[in-house]
């Protein structure tokens, strides 16, 4: 394992130290691993998210004006514990309640639920939205359901923008639900990631094969296929998305790198995704290309598509100022 780290069990802490030093707009509680905005906005609905580390800039990199109020990074690929989430929720409560944005994984769900219960007991109004956009996973009563991946960024941005307008918790939760319901993702891995504590790649992938339908935790995908061109791999991903939620109207598209894929390749993939969308008669009106919802050092990409409407577009365009996403101020 070759990593720029001090020690496997110091990775998260060290990164948080760096985050704190690089971004004076954030308040970082290193002890409890809670990242909050340095300046809060009384009366605003608070947005809290969190999850295992290893997906940077998600979530801590999305704390700031127009997105989250607080984030809880867990250990690598391990959901945060209730204590962290409780502290973050209390910090983010500015008198109008708090929305928990939860990616649909058993661990995240259990820990957020425990925290929400305890916060409710302490009198904080908490609503939760479950993000489950990954069409690679069968959504059935007999499974853990779909994973939450790239759509989390959309939910955090758009719900964050609405919260900034002073909207009440119910409305913020509703738009978060709406964004999730209108979003779908699919991912492809060229290489496995390496979890620092494990010290070796999570899975072995021959030079001529790719994993299709991967998540963001180094989970193997649904199947392996021969390495193919960017165009063919983009088609595999888009077929899966389109098969689940037909591409129609105005779309927000994220072509996301898994952490180890350079921008030059992601732009190439975006060109193919755009051609695919055009072929279906839909239009990409907003887009994002880059490493946003990552899986440590994995090479690969995911595509997330959200069907926009005028309100969602306006909220997407609204100013945002976080370490990982910034425009308009």
């Amino acid at each position: 394992m070759k990593k720029l780290i001090n020690a496997p069990d110091a990775v998260v802490r060290d990164a948080l130290r760096g985050l704190a030093l690089a971004h004076p707009g954030l308040a970082v509680d290193l002890e409890n691993q809670v990242v909050t905005r340095a300046a809060l906005t009384p009366g605003k609905v608070g947005l809290v998210s969190g999850g295992g580390s290893g997906h940077e800039p998600l979530h801590a990199g999305f704390v700031g004006y127009g997105m989250l109020d607080a984030a809880c990074p867990g250990e690598i690929f391990t959901s945060p514990v209730p204590d962290q989430l409780i502290e973050a929720t209390k910090a983010a409560d500015q008198g109008a309640g708090v929305l928990h944005i939860v990616k649909n994984y058993t661990g995240d769900v259990l820990n957020f639920e425990m925290a929400a219960e305890l916060c409710a007991e302490e009198g904080i109004e908490v609503a939760s939205v479950l993000v489950d956009d990954d069409v690679a996973v069968e959504d059935s009563l007999y499974t853990a359901g779909r994973r939450g991946t790239g759509a989390t960024l959309f939910v955090e941005k758009i719900a964050g923008a609405l919260a900034e307008t002073g909207a009440p918790l119910a409305k913020v939760a509703a738009v978060a639900e709406l964004v999730g319901a209108r979003s779908r993702s699919f991912g492809v891995a060229l290489t496995s990631c390496t979890v620092p504590a494990a010290g070796k790649p999570t899975f072995d992938l021959p030079e001529d094969q790719v994993e299709v339908g991967i998540g963001i935790h180094g989970e193997p995908g649904r199947r392996r296929v021969p390495l193919a061109s960017a165009r063919e791999l983009a088609e595999v991903a888009m077929d899966a998305v389109h098969g689940d939620l037909p591409l129609e109207g105005e779309l927000l598209v994220l072509v996301n790198g898994m952490g180890g894929t350079p921008l030059i390749e992601l732009y190439g993939v975006f060109a193919e995704v755009a051609a695919y969308v055009k072929g279906k008669g839909a239009t990409i009106t907003r887009s994002l290309v880059g490493n946003y919802v990552t899986s440590l050092d994995m090479q690969g990409f995911s595509v997330t598509v959200c069907r926009l409407d005028d309100d969602l577009t306006r909220l997407w365009d609204a100013p945002v100022s976080t370490p990982g996403l910034r425009w308009g101020r």
Partner: protein, 198 residues
Amino acid sequence: MAAGAWLKECARVVAAERERLTGLDAAIGDADHGANLDRGFQAIVAELDLGDEAEPGAQLVAAGSLLIRRVGGASGPLYGSALRSMGKALSQGADLSTALEQAVEAVEKLGKAVEGDKTMVDALRPAANAMALAVQEGIGVREALDRAARAAEEGAAATTPMRARKGRASYLGERSEGHRDPGATSAALLIRALAATW
């Protein structure tokens, strides 16, 4: 009854099997199960009073709470709740078999998993059942615990061919078949540790 000895033995076994558990999780999960449990049980050993004087029920409740506070992931809340339920039952005077039953029910309730879903329940449920049956048959607690541990080990081994329906492994669909579940494996280790120390 020595809850402290059990917890210490759990910590020892989990540390020794850490790599293996993480390796099993790498195959059908996210390669952190060994690290997760190790973090939790090391905290228990380091931070709790595991002496023989303390009340076992209270010790287990404290240990479960600490797992919840330190582990994260799926296994933190699940094992944490299990220990808390077990401890509460013991504190209320339940026998070990009943307490184990409570622990397993807590996992089932929280995780909404049943036997055959390829989770820790596949080790825990048979263990609780074997223990209850043995007690019913009038068998002594040491032998009953040994049966429970064996049932857990068999249950864990039986997860290999299963297709996962809960937890991260369920994302793999049929590709989860042929791999032993990490949580069932750790559960069998913890029950074996119980049999060895109680």
